[in-house]
């Protein structure tokens, strides 16, 4: 029975990925991409990796889908996409297939050539867990044992925002889509947005002893902001830029302050003081959640917001 479920899921993931790549209609591709995120989340759960499943559900099935739908609407509005139809460009398709096949071969090679005796990393993590200040292994690895990974993750997001800013400069038009003046939607927002914010905090808190953590919580926070943005409750351009700058600064600053203070105190870079690790990790995670939420939101709004030089302001505030 389990094998049957796994095989159905696997075939489904592969078929959905192929359909998303090959379908002629861009809209259909986007829909299949959302489904891919969803089925991948199911697959991660089957593999017993709920941390990745949570991130995949929030980012893959949630925010990326909205980002792609928004891009599609933007392309249609500006007339850069005459018809919702595209032919796959064959050199590009060939390149994509070639690189993904290479990746699959490399991964297979890595799986079948594990070093013997295998490095028992999970045993090492288990052993050091009491010192880490948290009781969930993934959080301990990400924010204590290998905390530079998290620092670099924020770096990647900053890079994405820089690309967004670069795209923005030659788009001198305003976001003319007014949002949805639907009374039922706005009534539901008063229920949904608080529920999203609470869930975000829950995921953050859960990160210390269960699957969850800053990234998932940040994605949830961003989803709440994006929902407000889509339904027409927008920040003015100036405020939105400020928030983006604040978000970018916040995550980096807290992390760097914690990292360098340990150097000044005579410990190696990013080493937490004895005993205070748990509190510090919670602090960093809180800042990172806010930072990731704001960065993801600004990725969403930046292309549509007018550049600072020609802003007109005048939106209803927050």
């Amino acid at each position: 029975m389990n094998l049957l479920i796994d095989l159905t899921l696997l075939t489904g993931i592969l078929a959905i990925a192929a359909t998303s790549l090959l379908s002629r209609s861009l809209f259909q591709s986007v829909i299949f991409f959302i489904l891919l995120g969803l089925t991948l989340a199911l697959g991660w759960i089957r593999l017993g990796a709920p941390d990745i499943a949570l991130a995949e559900a929030a980012i893959g099935a949630g925010i990326t889908g909205v980002l792609l739908l928004d891009t599609l609407g933007h392309l249609k509005k500006t007339g850069k996409l005459d018809k919702d139809e595209h032919r796959p460009s064959y050199p590009r398709l060939l390149l994509a297939i070639l690189s993904s096949v290479t990746l699959v071969v490399l991964l297979l090679w890595a799986v079948f050539h594990q070093p013997t005796p295998a490095i028992q990393l999970h045993l090492l993590v288990e052993e050091a867990l009491p010192d880490s200040g948290v009781s969930h292994q993934i959080t301990a690895v990400l924010l204590n044992f290998r905390s530079y990974d998290t620092l670099l993750e924020v770096g990647v997001l900053v890079l994405a925002v820089l690309v967004g800013l670069a795209l923005q400069t030659d788009q001198h038009q305003q976001d003319s889509l007014p949002g949805l003046p639907n009374p039922l939607l706005h009534a539901c927002l008063t229920l949904l947005v608080p529920a999203m914010l609470i869930t975000s905090m829950y995921l953050l808190w859960a990160g210390s002893d269960r699957p969850g953590g800053a990234f998932q919580a940040g994605a949830m926070l961003a989803a709440a902001f994006i929902l407000l943005h889509l339904s027409g409750i927008k920040l003015s351009a100036q405020l939105s830029h400020r928030m983006m700058q604040f978000g970018l600064l916040l995550g980096f600053t807290v992390f760097l302050v914690v990292a360098t203070s340990s150097v000044i105190g005579g410990r190696p870079l990013l080493a937490y003081p004895d005993g205070g690790a748990g509190l510090l990790i919670l602090l960093i995670e809180l800042a990172l959640t806010l930072s990731i939420g704001l960065i993801l939101l600004s990725l969403f709004t930046i292309a549509n917001s007018p550049p600072l030089s020609s802003r007109s302001g005048g939106s209803n505030g927050h």
């Binding site: 029975m1 389990n2 049957l4 479920i5 159905t8 899921l9 489904g12 359909t19 809209f27 259909q28 829909i31 959302i34 489904l35 969803l38 089925t39 989340a41 199911l42 759960i45 089957r46 017993g48 709920p50 941390d51 499943a53 949570l54 929030a58 099935a61 949630g62 925010i63 889908g65 909205v66 739908l69 928004d70 599609l72 609407g73 933007h74 249609k76 509005k77 018809k83 919702d84 889509l177 949002g179 949805l180 939607l185 539901c188 949904l192 529920a195 999203m196 869930t199 995921l203 859960a206 269960r210 699957p211 969850g212 949830m220 989803a223 994006i226 929902l227 889509l230 339904s231 027409g232």
Partner: protein
């Protein structure tokens, strides 16, 4: 009991496959989106059952996240894509 969970999961996966046919057929964008919405709900159902079958309580958190984000795609579709699509090319 785990046999029952497995059987329920299998029925749900079959219903997903039926739903995918509607996404491929269309004919309107709205029909595709509705099918994706059904897909999301089925995903939630699969996750809460997997939480018992594995057993993996965190799968319920994933279901919660999916349930909260379920209407995001519909709102984005209606406010962004559909508004900019003229009626005669809405296929």
């Amino acid at each position: 009991m785990s046999y029952i969970y497995g059987f329920t999961l299998f029925i749900l996966l079959v219903s997903l496959i039926v739903g995918v046919m509607r996404i491929i057929q269309g004919p309107r964008q709205a029909d595709r989106l509705l099918a994706a919405q059904l897909f999301g709900t089925t995903g939630v159902a699969i996750l809460v059952i997997l939480a018992e079958l594995q057993p993996l309580p965190a799968a319920r958190d994933t279901a919660l996240v999916l349930a909260l984000l379920a209407m995001l795609a519909a709102v984005a579709f209606v406010s962004r894509v559909w508004k900019t699509t003229s009626t005669n090319e809405d296929h």
